[in-house]
């Protein structure tokens, strides 16, 4: 039964080589069949692994039969199981969407499957260098997928991402060097075990952890390593943005999670509380300022990652459960939002918020799906975002400053999604300005959406509602999955005080929306939109962030 673990990586890889056969048999649609088959098979295998996982807690598979310090081991624990299930589900739905869009060739499916294989590898591997290799597989596939449309902006975004991420991976290699020099092994668990036993040479060990965080952090996209994300996620093809925002940044963050928990680096984990709170707050300001609909969503991915990271930094069992819960929820509603906005862009061929209006009547189903996603991300009951955001704010109660930063970020989220939803509303002021010409032109443009594009929207909406009701059950299950122990006290989420709190956030959000529609607000937003970091500055920020983290670690070590 334990051998099933390796198949989760092997199946997508083998299927990807099958999908290349499509070149010689163009009529057979082998690529689509191979990718659907691979993903469904992986989901079945995950289901089969669930029972043994409950019994054994950790499923361990030595690759090639070589045991731990010498060989590479694959570990499947609750965290890995949950994140693979999330990744596979979102990937399958994104694939259905891509199939419905009908404009991708076989090489798209090839790289898509390689991306999934790399993702699974990063989740499962227990060896540091193997993790590096899988990260590179994952990122090379994603560079190509981002540039797939070959438009000028997407190619530049892909190149920027490549350069920033490669510099980050250089730091990752440096960390591998430091750890190998200290211990002479590469297995994560053995290194952690040795380090906790001997407590040898702490400064070098801390430097290694910080290099690891910076290397992976480029992909997890928290401030100041986020600069590549808005362009890359906004100009990628729609299913690719869904999987990048929904799964890839989370998988990278989960490997930081795994490393910090294994090495028991509590002090480093506490830094993440502040990184997360600042990320959530700063990114939402830029999100409100955007006029490009997909860029707005991309900035929100950074902001929501801030929520997840801040909750992770508190490091109690409740906050870890809240963090993972929000991570799952975010992957559901963010891919729903990306796919529904993708539907709008596909049919109208226009992505500027200011130029679109009144689409609610033209595509009611997309409108409904978008509203489910938007209400989830704003934290309105009974959708899933409400539950996990409340759990996060409950777990942040002891850190008032971070709590208020997160609170402000929630207000900003409501305001920016009110702004985004105006593409579905009838806007009288806009009608007058544009005149009749454009209205008729947009009607001409409108293409019909195929059924394959709408099915994933429906499934994701249902999942968003399902994870929102019965929060007790979900929280208990997630806590058992990731920490292995029952939560002693599950807080009541649907209480009067949290309901009034969310009404308060909603009211302030609307007020902020009205504020940004005034002429002064528009001028401020235009100024913020202009503040964009170039490639040189983002690379500088990466190195600066690395040095700053080292400095912070040094201060914390001295106990100042």
């Amino acid at each position: 039964m334990n051998n099933l673990v390796i198949f989760l990586i092997l199946i997508p890889l083998v299927a990807s080589s099958f999908s290349l056969l499509n070149r010689y048999f163009p009529r057979l649609r082998i690529a689509e069949a191979a990718s659907f088959g691979a993903l469904i098979l992986c989901l079945i295998f995950l289901g089969l692994l669930f029972q043994p996982l409950l019994k054994q807690k950790v499923i361990n598979y030595p690759v090639g039969g070589w045991q731990e310090p010498l060989g590479i081991n694959l570990y499947m624990d609750g965290l890995a199981w949950g994140s693979s299930l999330m990744g596979m589900t979102i990937a399958l739905l994104a694939l259905i969407f891509a199939w419905g869009e009908k404009k991708y060739r076989y090489n798209f499916y090839f790289f898509f499957l390689i991306l999934i294989a790399g993702m699974e590898g990063v989740i499962l591997t227990g060896d540091l260098f193997n993790m590096f290799v899988f990260f590179e597989i994952l990122s090379i596939a994603s560079y190509i997928l981002i540039a797939y449309s070959r438009e000028r902006k997407s190619i530049l975004a892909s190149f920027n991402y490549l350069l920033i991420s490669s510099l980050g991976m250089g730091f990752f290699l440096l960390a591998i060097f430091l750890l190998y020099q200290q211990t002479g092994i590469l297995s994560l668990r053995e290194i952690a075990y040795l380090q906790l036993q001997t407590k040898g040479n702490l400064p070098v060990f801390n430097l290694a952890i910080i290099s690891l965080i910076v290397g992976i952090g480029v992909k997890a996209a928290f401030i100041p390593l986020h600069t590549w994300l808005p362009d890359a996620h906004a100009f990628a093809p729609h299913p690719v943005s869904a999987i990048l925002s929904g799964v890839m940044i989370k998988v990278s963050f989960l490997s930081i999670w795994r490393i910090l928990r294994l090495f028991q680096a509590i002090k480093t984990q506490q830094i993440f509380l502040w990184i997360g709170a600042i990320t959530a707050f700063m990114a939402v300001i830029w999100a409100i300022a955007q006029d490009d609909s997909k860029k707005l969503l991309a900035y929100h991915s950074i902001s929501q990652m801030g929520f997840i990271i801040a909750s992770f930094g508190v490091a109690t069992s409740l906050s870890l459960a809240a963090s993972f819960y929000h991570l799952l929820n975010h992957s559901l509603f963010k891919s729903l939002l990306f796919l529904s906005i993708g539907c709008v862009i596909c049919s109208m061929e226009e992505r500027d918020i200011q130029k679109l209006s009144g689409l609610g009547r033209k595509m009611p189903f997309v409108f409904l799906a978008f509203m489910v996603g938007a209400l989830s991300i704003c934290g309105i009951p009974p959708f899933n975002g409400y539950v996990s955001k409340n759990l996060i704010s409950l777990s942040l109660k002891e850190h008032p400053l971070a709590y208020y930063l997160i609170f402000l970020a929630s207000i900003g989220t409501v305001a920016s999604f009110t702004k985004l939803s105006q593409i579905f509303r009838k806007d009288r002021a806009k009608r007058k300005n544009q005149g009749k010409e454009e209205a008729s032109a947009s009607r001409l443009h409108q293409k019909k959406l195929s059924r394959g594009m709408l099915i994933p929207l429906g499934i994701l909406s249902i999942l968003c509602i399902l994870t929102g009701i019965l929060p007790h059950l979900w929280t208990a299950a997630i806590s058992k999955l990731i920490t292995g122990e029952e939560l002693r006290l599950i807080p009541v989420v649907y209480s009067l005080s949290s309901l009034t709190n969310s009404v308060f956030i909603l009211g302030l959000g609307f007020a902020l929306y009205l504020g940004i529609r005034s002429s002064l607000g528009q001028r401020i937003l235009k100024y913020i939109r202009g503040l964009k970091l170039g490639l040189n500055n983002s690379l500088f920020l990466l190195v600066g962030g690395f040095l700053f983290l080292i400095f912070l670690g040094w201060i914390m070590e001295k106990g100042l």
Partner: protein, 112 residues
């Protein structure tokens, strides 16, 4: 000696990536940065012994073979990245007709 070389290459690579205006020079700087880390690993391996790690009778004091194996993989990945980056640069040049990152970013700003 090798210590100084590694430090110089490290700083040179990062400086080149941040400061150079030309995209191809940035990619070359990335390669310098990568090869600095490759040299670091090989240097580490070379300090453990003196003979090649071919395990026959009577051979002792061998070099640690693992860093070399790891670096082969890292070099291959580096080559893939360089090839991909150069092909992206080719496409960027066709679209923007310049290789200077400043001018490209200015062109994007003017369009908006």
């Amino acid at each position: 000696m090798a210590d100084y070389l590694i430090i110089i290459l490290f700083i040179l690579g990062i400086w080149g990536m941040i400061k150079k205006d030309n995209l191809i020079k940035k990619v070359i700087a990335l390669n310098i940065f990568n090869s600095c880390i490759v040299i670091l690993f090989i240097y580490l391996g070379s300090r453990t012994g003196s003979t090649a790690p071919i395990m026959e009778k009577g051979i002792k004091d061998v070099v640690d073979p693992l860093p070399q194996a790891l670096m082969l993989t890292a070099i291959v990945i580096g080559i893939c990245l360089t090839a991909l980056a150069l092909s992206l640069i080719l496409k960027i040049y066709q679209h923007y007709e310049t290789l200077s990152i400043h001018r490209i970013e200015e062109k994007i700003k003017q369009k908006q």
